[in-house]
């Protein structure tokens, strides 16, 4: 617990937490504005009202979340490399792997907060603007969990990449390349492409239904764990020189 408190203290003035909170607020604002302007068009689509609410707005929200994760993950390790701070940490009686895990938990928690903010906005829209009796809170909660779960491989992957490169432009470039290649491959049918963490995150955004997909969820959990374990293991190999 004290390690987590230390990690939070280090984050001061880095903008990591504000970035993820801003992503949540921006996503919520986008949902409100979009529904305000395009309400009739959206509700006239040949889709169930809940599917309209959850899938038609999610594309942009997901892109915001993706860039929020990329930027926050880059910054969370950049502060360690900037003044060689991590080298001092190597000389102290503390676990470097524990530090990696704390960073993972901090990013995960604030991403979850951002997603909750966005989905609270969706709930507001659903209660107020969907035809009477069509809004289902249960479905929204399941979709919230699903979108969070499918975002985790990108978070886990980006944290691993940013922990390996001292130059912040490298993980940032990897993130942008991941986004572009993910966009190109997201609609492809080949299941093998789901090894690409950005494709997994894009899956709910390209689906026409807000239904939970067990295969995608399973791949998301597996990838998150693989990248996390790899990151923890690599962090144990001190790279002082």
């Amino acid at each position: 617990m004290s390690m987590l408190a230390i990690e939070l203290q280090k984050e001061k003035r880095t903008g990591i937490i504000p970035v993820l909170l801003a992503v949540g607020v921006l996503g919520a604002a986008y949902a409100f504005l979009n529904f305000l302007v395009r309400k009739d068009t959206l509700l006239n689509l040949p889709l169930a009202p809940m599917d309209v609410l959850l899938t038609q707005l999610y594309g942009m929200i997901m892109i915001l979340n993706m860039f929020g994760i990329i930027v926050a993950a880059c910054m969370i390790y950049n502060m360690e490399f900037k003044g060689n701070a991590v080298k001092k940490i190597y000389m102290l009686p503390t676990s470097v792997a524990g530090m990696y895990l704390c960073k993972f938990f901090i990013l995960t928690f604030f991403l979850l907060v951002a997603i909750i903010i966005q989905n609270t906005a969706l709930a507001q829209i659903g209660i107020k603007d969907l035809p009477a009796g069509t809004f289902e809170m249960g479905e929204l909660i399941v979709f919230t969990a699903y979108s969070f779960l499918t975002s985790m491989p990108v978070l886990s992957f980006m944290l691993l990449i940013s922990s390996r490169f001292e130059n912040m432009w490298v993980p940032l470039g990897v993130g942008v390349a991941g986004f572009l290649s993910g966009m190109a491959l997201a609609t492809a049918k080949a299941p093998l492409l789901m090894v690409h963490p950005f494709v997994v995150m894009l899956k709910p955004a390209v689906a026409m239904s807000a239904q939970w997909d067990n295969a995608v969820a399973l791949v998301a959990v597996a990838e998150t764990l693989v990248f996390l374990v790899a990151g923890v293991w690599m962090s144990k190999q001190l790279r002082y020189e």
């Binding site: 701070a85 001092k88 000389m91």
Partner: protein, 254 residues
């Protein structure tokens, strides 16, 4: 003799370059051990091995009876260190930087102020570390090493980047530490004149090999025997290095 740090034929080899070769050090408890050598002699590499930052290719060492890597955390709890350039969180103030170290070492909050005071950074404690001058960053690094008064201090060229009065101040501080806190100091430098003013014992390293280890008095005696004036150790040091370099060249030609 009560040694707190001993190394046994410590060797560090990179692909086709040996940075440290069969170095056996004996550092007495409560002493200031000056680790001397020209740039690239292997001083920092030896210190990094002692801190577990890089693994020895061969040889072993004990610190206060403990071994790496089994006792890594216990050893690091006992060592305050400053290696190469200062390391700090650029987004935090000097005080906040020390507070992070304090929390990791589980020390009382007042230890931060004590460390800042010790290195003369109290009035700049609330300034962002990235806005510090090189000398102030150096002092911050030293404060981080001194935090909690560890029984062993490993300082790698701690006066780099300091102005003459800063060098004098830090030299006096290092000199006073064994008496003040009953600690042992391993300090490196490439200047004998600086080490001479602080150290009880010295080790001279060149191209990874230990050329001399002993007290300053025995170095003075060596100087006399070699025909140098006992008060001119700098010349003895330079001639030791030159002799060793010449012998290396000869060995290479053979």
């Amino acid at each position: 003799m009560d040694y707190i740090i001993t190394t046994e034929k410590l060797t560090k080899r990179y692909k086709n370059f040996t940075s440290v070769k069969n170095v056996s050090l004996h550092i007495r408890k409560g002493s200031i051990y000056g680790f001397l050598g020209p740039n690239g002699a292997g001083k920092s590499t030896t210190m990094k091995m002692l801190l577990g930052l890089t693994a020895p290719t061969k040889g072993s060492f004990t610190i206060d009876g403990k071994h790496f890597p089994e006792d890594r955390l216990t050893i690091l709890k006992e060592i305050g260190s400053f290696i190469e350039s200062p390391s700090f969180y650029a987004n935090l103030t000097g005080r906040e930087n020390l507070d992070i170290i304090r929390k990791i070492l589980q020390l009382p909050p007042k230890s931060v102020d004590e460390a800042l005071d010790l290195v003369g950074l109290t009035e700049f404690g609330d300034r962002l570390a990235k806005k510090y001058s090189l000398g102030m960053k150096q002092r911050l690094g030293l404060a981080g090493a001194l935090l909690g008064q560890p029984p062993i201090l490993v300082l790698d060229e701690p006066t780099n980047g300091l102005d003459p009065s800063g060098i004098h101040e830090i030299r006096n501080l290092v000199k006073s530490l064994p008496a003040l806190y009953d600690c042992t100091v391993l300090i490196s430098s490439h200047m004998l004149s600086e080490i001479e003013l602080m150290a009880d014992d010295i080790g001279v390293l060149n191209h990874g090999r230990l050329l001399f280890e002993g007290s300053l008095d025995s170095l003075r005696q060596n100087a006399l025997q070699a025909g140098f004036a006992a008060d001119n150790l700098e010349e003895l040091f330079l001639s030791m290095i030159e002799k060793d370099n010449a012998a290396r060249k000869q060995r290479a030609q053979l």
